[in-house]
């Protein structure tokens, strides 16, 4: 704001200066140690952790984009089943966990705590 010394831009400005300074120092110390630009985590080469981490992130993204259209219940069962399976559970365990945990969350959050979880494609059967 004009004519005001400490306006809304002041605080982010200070943060920006600080980040630039610290970033510069970190780059400097990194160059001095001659460390590689990028190092992969040690688990990246192992199948189960790689699939698991990828599955967790992809699943969360899927929920963000699909939950409103498909509804919480369908998305929840599908995601849980796939996640358990990816992490090494059998299909039978995966399906049972998917259904039971989703129903438990439905009962506790939707029924008891009245969180309006989206129904999506099952809108007409909502209970």
């Amino acid at each position: 704001m004009p004519g005001q010394k400490f306006g809304p831009a002041w605080f982010p400005g200070v943060i920006a200066i600080g980040l630039a300074a610290c970033g510069g120092l970190l780059v400097f110390s990194g160059l001095r140690q001659a460390s590689p630009w990028l190092r992969w985590p040690e688990w990246i080469g192992r199948r189960r952790p790689l699939l698991g981490v990828g599955g967790v992130v992809a699943g969360l993204l899927f929920y963000v984009f699909a939950a409103d259209a498909l509804g919480f219940h369908l998305t929840g069962v599908v995601l849980l089943t796939l996640w358990v399976r990816l992490l090494g559970g059998s299909w039978r365990v995966a399906v049972v966990v998917g259904v039971v945990a989703t129903v438990a969350i439905h009962l506790s959050f939707y029924k008891l705590l009245r969180v309006p979880l989206p129904w999506g494609v099952f809108e007409q059967y909502a209970f």
Binding site: F11, L19, P41, L60, V84, V93, V97, L112, R114
Partner: protein, 491 residues
Amino acid sequence: MLFEALKLVFDPYVLWVIFASAAFGLFVGAVPGLTATMATALLVPVTFFMEPVPAIASIVTATAMAIFAGDIPSCLLRMPGTPASAAYTDEAYAMTLKGEGELALGAGLVFSVIGGLFGTAVLILAAPALAEVALKFSSFEYFWLVCLGLLSAVFIALSNPLKGIVSLLLGLLVSAVGLDNPAGFPRFTFGNAELAGGLTLIPIMIGMFAVSEIIRGVSRIDQPWVMAQAKIGNVFRGMWTLTKRYPGPVLRGSALGTAVGVLPGAGADIAAWMSYAVSKRFSREPEKFGTGHVEGIIEAGASNNSALAGAWVPALVFGIPGDSITAIVIGVLYIKGLNPGPSIFMNNAVSIYAIFMVFILADLLMLPLGIAAIKSAKQLLRAPREVLLPVILLFCIVGSFAINNSIFGVVLMLAFGLVAYLMEENGFPVAPAILGMVLGAMLEEHFIRAMIRADGDFLVFFERPIAGGLGAATIAVICVPLARRIFRTAA
């Protein structure tokens, strides 16, 4: 008033909540990869729908239990159940290998209770006294207090303060988003209505403390857990002898733990590391440390539980969190109308005294429930991770959604979960970032207010005696480590 507070606590519903959160806390603490802070973040969406006293009681109980229960897998698996047990995990495991598993577990339990009670006593005595002083504070004092809090988070017990500062600044940046600033001017909103209200902290915390841990857990899913000892006998045997033999370490651990807890940004995990180091330094038998010696476990075990209660002192009196757990709790206090600040002891005295009673009750309950947890350790540690982690993740999704009933909460949770995972893997501590997010608005508001009163003259910030003292302390927190470093390189 005490009677009214008693009535609030010994209500059947509240007692049920305390009992259930105790079981939840013991489970979360005992399973490696699930932390006390995560327990708090997961509890928030549930406490949303409770009365103030049970809501806070559930967090107090669950965290106290979780910090103790973290010792169980330390002894049996050589894996800390929570980061607060990491300092003495090797020691505890070495004791188990020597056949002294009962002694290690018993010491963890008994001295956790003693440390917790010590910290609670300090909280009950110090917080109201401090509030009396704090009633006279103006924006000048608050500005310096916030500075001191933010900086001590960066400079205390961090090997790389530079990364701590970056983390802190990122947290402050997050707090700057939205309309909620002294000028009421939209910042970093990009014309988006969700961003105009500022970033909601609870989904961010669920991301940073739960989702990041889940990612870490999943990345280690193929490493099996191996139990060192299956059968556990009487854990109370020898406890009285230990208490008589090590009264000094118990007291020192409790006192140091409480002090570290009170300091913003440093919580139970740093308290345990410091106390373990102090214990070794002043022990009559330092050569036994690391070979399965109980002394360090006693001191650090008392320390981490006392830090838990100590962290509530600045949280209640100033609204400045003493650790990551109270950083989340402060948000809950506001939601419940128990706004932290020195007047909380006048406006909400009954609720506050009820919360103090819950602290004592939780520590005492730890004895019988802790025994039960130790006895069922075998079952607890067999919890299948491939089922546990996905279920917690779905719970996180629903919890993040429930705060504003908006899918944007889930987006925040995922984004900050990934950021926190990457930060920790690269040596950037997340606690300063959390502190920055919680305190950013307060820092800016008090600075602007004080600047207007001072008419733009920064020297006025040092004119009032307490403000001057706090200002000097802030400068010392920055300068002393720097000077030490320069001195060390010069020498």
